[in-house]
């Protein structure tokens, strides 16, 4: 077991580094240009703020030469004179990111006005958790019950409806259903707001209420599309278990059907269900980028999308890092849970 955990942790860390490396490589060259422009801008604005320096030049040429010299010096101090793909720079960037130092965002700011990427991300994260994690929990609860119900009555109307609903709902993109829901319930029947971002400042006491009200439409959409496939999954796990000898034995012993379904069978279907729950909870932390874009929900997904549309590289890197960390941690937890429930792995056999 220990060895298993150790290899897992090592793999996860490796994956994290690789993800980071790929991200840095992909956006690196652009990042370099942006940083250098930033330095030039900084030098110029300092001279403008300080007229004493500006007056000391006799010609434009001298002035330009001074700026060039200043810029070069600073670029050297910051280590920007080496190409962005040099190992030191990539190493340094990655080291800073691992310590959660993502630097300053180029364009985006948090609601409070801070341009520190860390502040921005930790402001958006709770909102994504509020919407997507609660949606995932609701989905899994409904899914487990409906799934168990249809597994206990295989071939019944309920079972058929669940299965077909699962199949049909899984082929609709959530964001398209989102568009339809906005069209129907925000414009045709004006029940819910179209934009999911509350328009009152986050400091006012009614903010939470407004946020919850704005959350209703996306929540309903996500749950509606999501629970079908959950129910189907749970049903399929349960169907396998319902055919096991011990369930048949329980039946012959005269244990009630409901008791068998919800207690004995569900308990045995728990390992895969819990594993999937762990995975989808983590998946929910990233928010669905597209869903948040459709509903204009001010969470991680929309942040990510906004960052990409204006090429705000520090934010892109920071958000990718945080998303990857969550994803990996949950895969890890799911793995551990699965290992814990599956005696073959617990006993140390080959995973």
């Amino acid at each position: 077991m220990k060895k298993y955990v150790a290899t897992r942790v090592a793999t996860m860390f490796g994956v994290l580094l690789i993800t980071l490396l790929i991200t840095v490589i992909l956006v690196g060259s652009n990042m370099d240009t942006i940083l250098k422009q930033g330095v030039v801008f900084q030098v110029r604005s300092e001279i403008i703020e300080n007229p004493a320096i500006a007056e000391s030049f006799s010609s434009v040429k001298e002035f330009e030469a001074f700026i060039d010299k200043q810029t070069d010096e600073r670029i050297k101090n910051l280590g920007l004179d080496e190409p962005w793909h040099s190992p030191q720079r990539i190493g340094f960037t990655m080291y800073k990111i691992i310590l959660l130092d993502f630097g300053q965002a180029t364009f985006l700011t948090s609601d409070v006005g801070s341009s520190d990427v860390k502040d921005i991300i930790f402001e958006k994260l709770p909102r994504t958790i509020l919407l997507f994690t609660s949606a995932t929990i609701i989905i899994s609860i409904i899914g487990i019950f409906v799934g168990a119900l249809s597994a206990s009555k295989i071939g019944s109307t309920i079972d058929r409806i669940t299965s077909s609903f699962a199949i049909i709902s899984s082929s609709f993109p959530v964001w398209w259903i989102g568009m339809l829901m906005i069209f129907l319930f925000a414009f045709t029947y004006q029940i819910f707001p179209a934009r999911a971002t509350p328009d009152i400042p986050s400091s006012s006491p009614e903010y939470l209420g407004a946020l919850l009200y704005h959350m209703t439409l996306p929540l309903i959409t996500i749950v509606m599309i999501g629970f079908g496939s959950w129910a189907y999954l749970v049903r399929n796990f349960m169907v396998g278990i319902m055919q096991e000898d011990f369930i048949v034995a329980k039946k012959t012993m005269g244990v009630k059907q409901n008791r068998i379904t919800y207690i004995h069978a569900l308990k045995n279907a728990a390992p895969p269900i819990i594993t999937i729950l762990a995975l989808s909870l983590s998946g929910s932390l990233g928010g669905a980028i597209i869903t948040e874009a459709v509903f204009d929900w001010p969470g991680m997904g929309r942040l990510y999308f906004e960052a990409i549309s204006v090429m705000d590289l520090p934010v892109i890197i920071g958000a990718t890092y945080i998303l990857t960390v969550f994803f990996l941690v949950s895969i890890f937890i799911a793995d551990l849970l699965y290992g814990y429930f599956d005696p073959r792995i617990r006993s140390g056999a080959n995973p």
Binding site: M12, I168, G286
Partner: protein, 455 residues
Amino acid sequence: MSSVTPNEIKKEFLKSKIGIAGIAILTILISISIITTITIPVETFQEWNNPGSWITYPKTAIPIWVNLFLIDKIPEHKILTEPKIATVSNDEINLSSYQFNVNFNYDEFPNDFIYSYSAEYANSPLFQMSVIRPDGIKLELVSTSLPHSNLKIIHEDRVFSTDAMIKKELTLQSEKFEFKINELSSEGIIFSKTEINQPLKGNYIFSIDLYGVNDESKIVESNLIIGGKAFGIMGTDELRRDLAIGLLWGTPLALFIGLVVSIASVVMGLMYGVYAGFKGKKTDETLMRFNDVIYALPALPFLIILSVTISNSIFVMVGFLMIFGWVGIAKVARSMSLQIKTRGYVEAATMMGQKDSKIILKHILPQLLPYAFASVAISVPAAITTEAGLSFLGLGDPSFPTWGQILHDANTFGAAARGLWWWIVPPGIMIAITGLAFVFIGNALDAIINPKLKR
């Protein structure tokens, strides 16, 4: 792991209703694709993003079939290109007359009308435009002479319903109407009943007369557009594009993306997994760790970064989608090949000294084929929705009218807020139907391979 033969699978598959339904939908989609590629010229789809080529179409027009369900009919957008031509020669004066028949049976006034023409003449012929209404009243619309020229030239021009000239001519004829027409638009007067300002139904004849003195003058090319609010089977969007063309072209594109991505992913995954499982030991360990790495990459963020930084061409995108597609299949293929490896005939083949590649190709891969087909079918919808999602975010290939691209445009122009349902609903339904076809087929195959689920 099962050992069903291909024939059994075929027999079982034909028994499953859901599988047949899937095949039926797929056949329809494939025939749509074939018909589209044959009948609609490729140019129309290359012109998708060229606003100039859609200029004669109406903006955000509702599909025409909606009129079937309405009591008050919405005016259809009409593009008339073939006038009835008559020429009369009388000594010095030549008259060429062009007549357009407009059958107007709607309960709303048209938006506007535009007559565009190119006339070939010398000197300065007289250009007259008039309309004969269903109630027999003839309204003069335009009476002007074309710009003078000594040589024979071709003159191109347009007459808009908003032209001040038409308004002036109509004001002169205001005694024909029982209400004040000063404030009304010219199409609101021409198509109106004389008693009250309501549309008059019936057959209108727009006639354009060209009088030339001594010289023959004629209109080489002309068309009359009666601007309406309904057009085509699927309507049009804000950029006047015919959505039917976009939706039709989206079909082969979606099938291409879905099938190429899923087939390539499955082939890659199978090879990788089988090789890892068959080799075992160190090779297996290394390959599977690499697999874990790819598996742990967050797919959508990476796809977005890749399409922003590298290229958003549809073909490159297909490649990116493959990178994330093969991982799960490789895992399953590996565990399956671990089981098959221990079977007698594989061990026998190994002992006889057959090459690894031969054993894999001849003895292991064929066993995995049913699973491979099921996974191809099951992974198509994901590929299609992912591509649609990326296009929806505006990261797709703008030169191809994919369904995601149409939805992206719809979202950009606020179609939901403006109630333009025909711009939002059909693309999504097409995505879903295509997905459903493959899910059906996949499910039917899955039920045959894992018989446990059926009961």
